[in-house]
């Protein structure tokens, strides 16, 4: 029983990475009906920018002697990194996706993939092959509830990602920009005629998605401190699976499916030998998609997307 609860805690943490990344895929899809295949690498870039920001902040603290507490540095890091990484997203939209809006969808997918490879290689070229380790901004303490061990980092990771998801939900439901995005995902053709420019909504979507991916990158760096340029590839593709599983273009679906993917993977590794994790997890996904071909919240025809 304790082991079961322990695995739930681990799955929540693991799922929040997937969910945060999957949200970016899903939002871009709902607006442009294209997948941003560079998204996994934006996650990686976010982690590296976060590394840079955190190191700079720590250096600032050491230099000036202003005693900033660790949690404040962490929050500042997350906010600043989200801000910077959103420009990466805007840049990718401008360079790779805007010229291809009318082109066949596969071309945009290939462009995204290639931008991803450029980001990985560029990182490798600039920083070299050495692995960086993410600075530990907060002291790790372990709480024990019954037989379940919960570190404060796990609570923080799940908490921050749930908060971000809630904020995103409020933004999309309540703000004017969110309304424009919902309208755009409802009807791609008519909304530009109503005076809402797709050239402003699409970069905004990319920016928000990238910011979420950056937050995921920092949280990932807290949990698994080793950064390498290819860390986004596998995680990104798996989050893409989650985005599809949730139903394309569905924000709630993407978040839920992200957590579900985390649960499936962790529990597959717990029940079966851990090397069989991918086999079991993806067989389950294959089965789900065979039985329910449009995901959980998706609709059969993509003209009616929800956001």
């Amino acid at each position: 029983m304790d082991l079961f609860l322990q695995n739930i805690v681990n799955a929540l943490q693991w799922g929040s990475f997937y969910a945060l990344i999957a949200l970016g895929y899903s939002m871009v899809y709902s607006i442009l009906m294209l997948f941003n295949f560079a998204h996994g690498d934006i996650f990686m870039v976010g982690a590296y920018i976060g590394f840079g920001v955190a190191t700079a902040l720590l250096g600032f603290v050491a230099m000036t002697g202003i005693p900033l507490p660790g949690w404040l540095i962490l929050i500042l890091t997350i906010i600043v990194t989200m801000f910077f990484t959103s420009f990466v997203g805007i840049f990718i939209e401008r360079v790779g996706y805007r010229p291809l809006r009318e082109a066949p969808r596969a071309s945009a997918a290939i462009t995204g993939l290639m931008i991803g490879i450029i980001l990985e290689t560029g990182n490798l070229a600039i920083l070299g092959a050495r692995r960086l380790s993410f600075p530990q901004l907060i002291e790790s303490t372990t709480y024990q509830f019954g037989g379940v061990y919960v570190t404060n980092k796990k609570i923080l990771i799940v908490g921050v990602s749930l908060t971000l998801m809630f904020l995103l939900h409020r933004f999309i439901q309540k703000s004017k920009w969110g309304m424009a995005m919902r309208a755009m995902s409802f009807d791609f053709q008519a909304v530009p005629l109503m005076g809402i420019s797709i050239d402003r909504i699409a970069p905004l979507t990319f920016a928000i998605g990238s910011a979420l991916a950056a937050a995921a990158g920092i949280l990932y760096g807290l949990a698994y401190p080793v950064l390498d340029p290819y860390m986004g590839v596998l995680l990104g593709w798996k989050a893409f699976v989650a985005a599809i599983l949730g139903g394309r273009g569905s924000i709630l679906g993407a978040a839920l499916a992200g957590f579900m993917l985390g649960f499936i993977e962790i529990f597959a590794a717990w029940i079966f030998p851990s090397t069989l994790r991918d086999v079991i997890a993806y067989s389950i996904i294959l089965l789900i998609l065979t039985l329910r071909p449009h995901g959980f919240f998706g609709q059969a025809h993509s003209t009616q997307l929800r956001l």
């Binding site: 899809y29 010229p99 596969a106 931008i115 450029i118 290689t121 599809i244 991918d278 065979t290």
Partner: protein, 436 residues
């Protein structure tokens, strides 16, 4: 061939281009191939001498790309070598053989296509044989390029002709590679995994095609896992299903200890020699080209353009999808089997996301729905990625940038939606003055 590309690149000026067109006009394919053959022979016998007098340390292996990128000062020598060994002989021989070549082409044109094709390919193979005889590196690059052509063609059947976005090709390739390797290692090789050979090793080379076919069939069976869900869904969901399939195959192979697990399989017998790879590739191009030009190929296009309308027009969409997936997977499996015996080592890591990006890059670079495009894409990406090797990781910035450029300016790829007609290619060119 190389000179042709160079010449067209220079021909930006109007008058020069017209002159060039006139210069190159009227030479049938067999003339060009004879020119290539002669150039390769010249390199074979005189290459060392020419490179010595041009101040090069040794024969430029891959059209001088590697030499120039490592030592830029050798640029003039390498250019001179390319012109002396490839450019001039190809042009001169092709030009001077124009009349007999045209007569031969006209004669072959009357007979069946297969005879003409065999003669052309025989000559071409001869050229390749002498070309690769000079260095093992060339041989490896050529074999891998041919395998890349097969992979690209086979994915074009699914992604181009049927219009799905299938991500499972490395998975099919892995199934074929492991299937074929298991058979050859079990039967014909003394190795760690399966122990002594069961059959005399002399039989191996004759059984190898059967092993390849078996590998292809295993891959085709695997394709059923994707083909059956494809009845109900397509597009992004199918992309995910195929991606999940790729993860499953890779992870399954990692977990099966009797085929080596994560360590992979090694010491496959050296059966993938040049004639074998060349023959299989030619067969692959021929069969796939006939397949996509048949009624079945048109049915594929119909399913891509409008599935409902295709169904109404009596196309059996289910059968079409199953056949297309299994057919594409079969050839990917065969290519995988060859791949395993070229490198003589496979492990699950070689069939991951990286390989997928590579294959997708080739097919979308070359052009969808086109056999010629696939060949062009596979050859250019694989030769480019070898030629830019001295740039190390910057290679992986240049190639993606190139691909993005292609996508921005030609969203369907370089040469898309064309038919590949061998008869048209081999026709005599004497009568037509325009066009080369």
């Amino acid at each position: 061939m190389a000179s042709q590309e160079q010449n067209t690149r220079q021909g930006n000026k109007k008058g020069f281009r017209a002159w060039l067109q006139k210069l190159l006009a009227g030479i049938p394919l067999i003339g060009w191939i004879s020119g290539l053959f002669a150039a390769v022979l010249i390199e074979y016998f005189l290459g060392d001498l020419i490179s010595y007098y041009l101040g090069l340390p040794k024969i430029p292996v891959l059209f001088g790309f590697l030499t120039v990128l490592k030592k830029p000062l050798l640029m003039p020598g390498t250019t001179g070598y390319l012109i002396l060994v490839y450019g001039l002989p190809i042009l001169l021989i092709a030009k001077s053989l124009r009349k007999p070549a045209n007569r031969l082409a006209a004669f072959l044109d009357k007979g069946p296509v297969s005879i003409g094709a065999v003669i052309h390919l025989g000559l071409f193979y001869g050229a390749m044989h002498f070309w690769t005889d000079l260095s093992d590196y060339r041989l490896l690059v050529l074999k891998l390029t041919m395998i890349a052509i097969m992979l690209t063609l086979s994915i074009n059947v699914i992604n181009g002709y049927m219009g799905e976005f299938s991500c499972s090709h490395p998975g099919f390739m892995a199934l074929g590679a492991y299937g074929a390797s298991t058979i050859t290692l079990l039967l014909f090789a003394n190795d760690k995994l399966f122990g002594d050979a069961l059959l005399p090793e002399a039989l191996g080379l004759y059984f190898f095609p059967l092993a390849l076919i078996a590998g292809g069939l295993i891959a085709a069976l695997g394709a059923l896992v994707i083909a059956i869900p494809s009845f109900r869904t397509r597009g992004d969901y199918l992309a995910i299903i195929s991606l999940a399939f790729l993860f499953i195959v890779k992870s399954l192979i990692e977990n099966l200890e009797f085929i080596g697990g994560p360590r992979g399989m090694s010491s496959q017998p050296n059966y993938s020699n040049l004639p074998m790879v060349f023959t299989v590739m030619v067969l692959c191009i021929w069969i796939i080209n006939n397949f996509v030009r048949s009624t079945m190929g048109k049915a594929l296009n119909a399913v891509r353009d409008n599935e409902l309308a295709a169904e109404v027009m009596t196309v059996n969409t289910r059968k079409t999808k199953i056949i297309a997936f299994m057919f594409g997977a079969f050839w990917a499996g065969v290519a995988g089997g060859l791949f395993a015996h070229v490198l003589r080592y496979v492990n699950p890591g070689s069939f991951g996301i990286q390989r997928l990006a590579e294959i997708l890059a080739m097919v979308y670079f070359g052009g969808l729905n086109s056999v010629t495009g696939s060949i062009v894409g596979a050859v250019s990406i694989s030769v480019l990625s070898e030629a830019l090797r001295p740039l190390e990781i910057y290679k992986w910035i240049i190639i993606p940038l190139l691909l993005i450029m292609v996508m921005l300016f030609r969203p369907w790829g370089l040469i898309s939606f064309t038919e590949f007609n061998p008869k048209e290619l081999m026709k005599p060119k004497e009568k037509k003055i325009e066009g080369k």
